[in-house]
């Protein structure tokens, strides 16, 4: 019995000299993997137009009923996204969301993408609702911010040619 206890303590002692595996969060952040499903982002095209066309398919798909979308009409003088409509209100309740990624699958324009951010904590329930302003990505370098004034007849097609998701 004594010998066994010494053997056990020896194992512990060996581990004492190994580097610790604890990640000192929040000072050190563990990188997430490529396929990680974190906080959503609403994407833009290179020219700055929003990908979201306000179709609310994501809201219909969401198993947790976390998304609220309200669409308004686009015009060539005030264009937010290609096609007829854009999302004037887009809200995700992060307290309801279960990060399943079904909204991503449902979106016809790949506008909503679950990205890498995972630091979602709030002091009150109201701030768990992420608005469109919080979700949408910055305007790309060569793009213009929305609403844009565009030539008529270019952006009639709401849904672009699709490519396979990576």
């Amino acid at each position: 019995m004594f010998g066994e206890i010494v053997k056990g303590l020896y194992t512990t002692l060996k581990h004492l000299f190994q580097p610790p595996v604890t990640v000192q969060y929040p000072e050190i952040k563990r990188p997430v993997r490529n396929r990680f499903k974190g906080r959503h982002e609403l994407k833009r095209y290179e020219n700055g137009l929003e990908k979201c066309i306000g179709c609310a398919l994501c809201a219909a798909a969401c198993p947790a009923d976390a998304i609220f979308v309200e669409a308004s009409e686009n015009s060539d003088e005030k264009r937010f996204s290609p096609g007829e409509r854009y999302a004037s209100t887009y809200e995700i309740n992060m307290m309801r969301c279960i990060f399943c990624g079904y909204c991503e699958d449902a979106c016809p324009t790949q506008a909503i993408v679950l990205e890498k951010s995972y630091e979602l904590s709030f002091y009150d329930r109201a701030s768990a609702i992420y608005t469109k302003e919080m979700l949408i990505v910055d305007v790309p370098v060569n793009g213009r911010s929305t609403p844009q004034v565009v030539e008529p007849g270019i952006f009639n097609r709401a849904i672009p040619e699709m490519e396979d998701p990576k």
Binding site: M1, E4, I5, G8, T11, T12, H15, V21, V32, R33, N34, R35, F36, K37, A61, C62, P63, I98, F99, C100, G101, Y102, D105, L114
Partner: protein, 428 residues
Amino acid sequence: MHTNEHTQKAETFIVPIGPQHPALREPGHFEFTIEGEIVTAASVRLGYAHRGIEKGTESRNWVQNLYMLERICGICSHIHATAYCLGVEQLAGVEAPPRAQAIREMVAELERTHSHLLWLGEAAHEAGFETLFMYAWRDRETVMDILEALTGNRVNYSANLLGGVKYDVTGEQASKIEQGLDYLEERTRHYLDVVTSDPVFIQRTRGIGVMTAVQADRLGVVGPTARASGVVRDVRVEAPYAAYTAFPITPVLAQAGDLEARFVVRLRELFESYGVIRRILANLPPGELVLKRMPRRIKAGEAISRVEAPRGELFYFIRSNGSDTPDRVKVRTPTLCNMASVLTLTVGRHLADVPMILVGIDPCFSCNDRGLVLKRGADHEHWTWDRLRQIGLDYYAGERGSGGVGGTSISPAPLPPCPPALLTGMHV
């Protein structure tokens, strides 16, 4: 003093454990009748974490349910989704492509790895062996990382789709998985050595909670708990699903039936899992990940789907009436089958062995809390959904009124007489 001790010995105590108790990670209520230190009777009451998921499935469409049912259990989530997918595919008369089936099996085995390592840590913690707890959980991170790289989530992977899987395995990931498995294999060998040779630990496990094969059969236990008593009960072997025909496993058995045997069975099962994951990675069938067409409405009919979760047989009954939502989904999780064995095995043992015997079945309380039969007094009565709903509405209307939330203008509605009766008659 002397007489006092004497009277205490003859006295019978009931020790209630739970619903909230430091030894339980989830709510469950046990009552152990003890004489001195020896348990003479045991009873359990479940249902504290009833979440109404089965009813919830009826108001969501087939795909949404996939995500919800996956969340029945945080540890064995993938296997729930797999059971559901297999059932729905059976109803729709389709079958997922071979590559998808193989990936399903692989994720299921990775999940088994993480579940068994988690259990090893937890069981060691119950035995007071904190070092093993920490080491096992540290090593479990390896498989959690693999799962995150593969599916994007550490738990609730959402790897399944109706008619296939969402994620492919890239060559780079395959080599990462191989590396992780090498490390885990070495560590598992070490743990197997520890649990079978450490004399202090063996004192807590050897010869404790012995369940014979006959008892195991009679109690209807499933999974590793049954296999540790020498009963071959493994859905992967009895009724292969997903890719288990192409990539079979050998059931791991032990004869002793005590706690030590349960440790040995679970740890040796890990080697089976590592082996089968390696074989799948080496021979992953080529082809599509998802079916070209999966119907949105599922043909009317009934399907039963059985799979082997880390804790034992998981059972799904699915009924469709031809619409885009299920008519009924019934889930029976392995913990419910194994719970009876805890009550039988603790009788005659010391109270101090109870936590170990309980953890020996790898209990998962929230998963098994689902069915609900209501009775009031002696009069057994099954209530209709409409009546239950009305009672619920009345109850909350009454509460809002008397609680004064928001305003005083709502007059308190008379409380229906049922809620206390609801609680006393709760059965799972």
